[in-house]
Symmetry: C2
Subunit: 269 residues, 2 copies
């Protein structure tokens, strides 16, 4: 803090109490606001002009982010340790939390941009998994990630943290109706592939045939149950990852990484 930084807010200050309620989905949905915690997420939120409403920061911490927020006209509030702990969902609060406007866009808008690579999540329950897949999709160059109906809220704090700032990069579609999304993707010339351990083709065959060079959307299913047959049937093909050793399967985040990077490489070969 510097002279003129204003008071040190406590958990009872109305703006802190209001922000703390955003740890609940009900309040996030009512306000269309969410919390982005930690320097990496805050930096990306500020960098992408993603509508940061307020920055909460611990005294003497994260001077670079405070400066960036002030440059962007974002109000900065210093908070005491108890208030920061209330805004944080981690054991060791990183000392900076941004209140951000929702960034998701309608499916039609995300898909109107002629995407080359899209990840579609179907009933992914674990926020850490969903956030990791979004981060990997961003790294692989995906332009959109669809959180299909039944998947975890992308604004869940654990999901936001798992994205490591990538939440602010691809277009995020929240709660998409899956048959509608798949139909729109196919109508837009995007080949839709279901990642499916029981698929009729495998990833090596897709690569060998050169089929992954086309604009592609990958459907990823629930961690335990995978994709139900009727959802997998919506895709142009169901693709399994070859298992060379004794493992029964890959976990979701690993499978998504292998599929998305196979596409990324094929599209650039």
């Amino acid at each position: 803090m510097r002279p003129g930084d204003g008071p040190l807010h406590t958990e009872r200050t109305p703006r802190v109490a209001a922000a703390r309620r955003l740890t609940s989905r009900k309040h996030r949905d009512a306000e269309r606001l969410f919390l982005a915690e930690g320097p990496q997420a805050v930096r990306e939120a500020l960098a992408t002009g993603a509508g940061v409403r307020t920055l909460f920061v611990s005294p003497e911490r994260h001077g670079d982010l405070v400066a960036a927020a002030r440059d962007a006209g974002v109000p900065v509030s210093y908070v005491d340790a108890t208030a920061m702990a209330g805004l944080s969902e981690t054991v060791t609060p990183p000392g900076v939390v941004a209140v951000c406007q929702f960034i998701d866009v309608p499916a039609v808008e995300a898909l109107a941009r002629a995407p080359r690579l899209v990840a579609v999540l179907y009933e992914i329950n674990d926020p850490g998994n969903a956030g990791t897949v979004l981060r990997t999709a961003d790294a692989a160059g995906a332009s959109a990630v669809v959180f299909g109906a039944g998947s975890v809220d992308p604004y869940n704090g654990k999901c936001v943290r798992a994205t490591a700032g990538s939440l602010f990069h691809p277009a995020v579609v929240r709660g998409g109706d899956l048959p509608g999304v798949v139909g729109a993707l196919r109508a837009g010339g995007v080949r839709v592939l279901a990642a499916d351990g029981a698929g009729e083709t495998d990833l090596d065959a897709e690569l060998d045939a050169g089929r992954l060079a086309a604009p592609t959307a990958w459907l990823f299913g629930n961690e335990a149950r995978g994709l139900p047959a009727e959802v997998a049937a919506l895709a142009d093909a169901r693709v399994r990852i070859p298992i060379h050793g004794g493992a029964e399967s890959l976990n979701l985040a690993a499978a998504a990484a292998v599929c998305l990077y196979a596409s990324a490489r094929a599209q650039r070969a």
Copy 2:
């Protein structure tokens, strides 16, 4: 249970109390025994003849595993709900836990088998991450996984669960001294690659040059810090995964999946 199955054991039964102590590393190391929880891990432990000492099971559960244990001459003890909860580290105990002998082998033994693909973990702290990398390595056909000194215990309950049974497939080396392991790998004709976000070459260049077809060991570093320069310097090359979007990096499990599957495909092309 059937007539003749014997008593229902409680948490006070000495064999239950002794098994429960194996949730602590100190006791695991003293006894050279660990707990494998859940039907998948137990099935693989029994299938691979991995020295299962005892099977603890809840009444009326997992009849197939009880039969397999009896066929293998493994003693089966039925336990009540409190005893099972004490042996389990999950919120919803899966109702079956095996006491297994340590399965790790010395590095020289694992590396004497002319491995084609090896994963080496350096200071991986999170047991879920370590277990996931082992599972992915198994799926990619790795014949050995080295838990270098400073990495989590492969027999940690969360690690065992994250391997989803794969712990019993590749040769597991525990606590390997990293310069020694790397030296042995190179002496055995295995090319050693460090997965390194600041690497001097990238995975696409390695694939394009055909260099991943050789027998390869991948070094993976700590989740937050990656590989220290002096460890990365031990490798034949430091390889980064191309980042096509805005992401700063991949998480460990995703990066390992991309590297290991790139090798698996190149070795079979």
